[in-house]
Symmetry: C2
Subunit: 210 residues, 2 copies
């Protein structure tokens, strides 16, 4: 299929598709002549993935490119590849410099993860993100209790173990695994976020008897 058809089927304007090609989000089509290239269903699929990450997941273009580069580097094993994808999905917070409060929060996070027995890399950006969240909560006068954190951690683990990682085709082609992981993480993350707000609204209505 040609670019105009790719655009028609995906609903993405041609200049935008060209932009994604330039940025390396979308692989080049197969050149059939100097001014013609052929795109296949894989391009359409990739394009839909890009739009899903951008629109629903608000993942920046640069992060999407990182994920894609990890997939296309054949040297890395599947776990590392999934890790790279995961790390790219993190919203890297600014350092929040060598504050003492921060260092303590970071230690708390490391201890919590160790206590839970989770096998998480020491450089996982989630550790920093969580530390920053804890510092922020404390500064807002609502420090999180250890019990609260455990609840959220266990909830997350239940979902990941029983409903998310099971969907991932580890035995299939490597790109399928990453694609599924990213979709699961981002889309179900969004769904969970929305459900949480809806549930809060419902509870608010119940409590206030509206």
């Amino acid at each position: 299929m040609r670019i105009s058809q790719l655009s028609a089927e995906s609903g993405v304007p041609i200049p935008t598709i060209k932009y994604y090609l330039r940025e390396g989000l979308l692989p080049q089509g197969e050149q059939t002549s100097a001014t013609r290239a052929e795109y296949g269903p894989a391009h359409l699929r990739r394009l839909r993935l890009i739009r899903a990450l951008l629109e629903v997941g608000r993942v920046p273009v640069a992060a999407i490119r990182t994920v894609i580069e990890a997939v296309e580097d054949e040297r890395t094993d599947v776990h590392t590849m999934l890790g790279t994808a995961h790390y790219a999905l993190a919203s890297r917070p600014e350092p929040l410099a060598g504050d003492e409060e921060w260092a303590r929060a970071r230690e708390d996070v490391d201890r919590l993860i160790a206590d839970l027995g989770w096998g998480v890399g020491p450089l996982a950006p989630g550790r920093d993100e969580l530390a920053q969240t804890l510092v922020t909560l404390a500064r807002l006068g609502m420090p999180a209790t250890h019990a609260d954190l455990l609840v959220y951690a266990q909830t997350a683990m239940n979902l990941a173990r029983d409903h998310e990682m099971g969907k991932i085709p580890f035995d299939g082609p490597r790109d399928a695994a990453v694609e599924t992981l990213v979709i699961c993480t981002v889309m179900y993350g969004k769904a969970l976020d929305v459900f949480r707000r809806l549930a809060q609204e419902s509870e608010s209505a119940r409590i206030l008897g509206a």
Copy 2:
């Protein structure tokens, strides 16, 4: 306290504070003379809230302003006020025009919420957000099952009922209720998101035996 001290204590540059004042995110200080105004601890607190929503929650300035306007409009009751805050926190997706697939997804969402017995307003933006998420998942070839959705919905409700809405001081001043709600929604939402990614990484390591 003067603006320079407010800046020093919060770590927010003076021009940025002025910007927030202009945008109505931060109430004006008490004028003590033509070129002098006095700021109090409430300003510092508000400033920290703004930064938390911006940096951790990625809530746009316009949405923060909406929340604040709702709080300051004394006419609205608490439930409506919390609703306004909630609606402002939603990431309003573009219409995704009158597609038939979309209409069906939207009906599914409405039916699901009704089946759950949740008291959610018919105009809650979460309904549309969820519908778009379902359409997107289907287009990506991974349609969500009804059973999956129920799991996420129940999980969200458990958290909201047992760990979130309980923190909200309904009997206190009206701004405290909204502030707590917003902090809970955004900060614990972030924490849950991070925990989910960490749990997935841990499971990936376990499954792949890394």
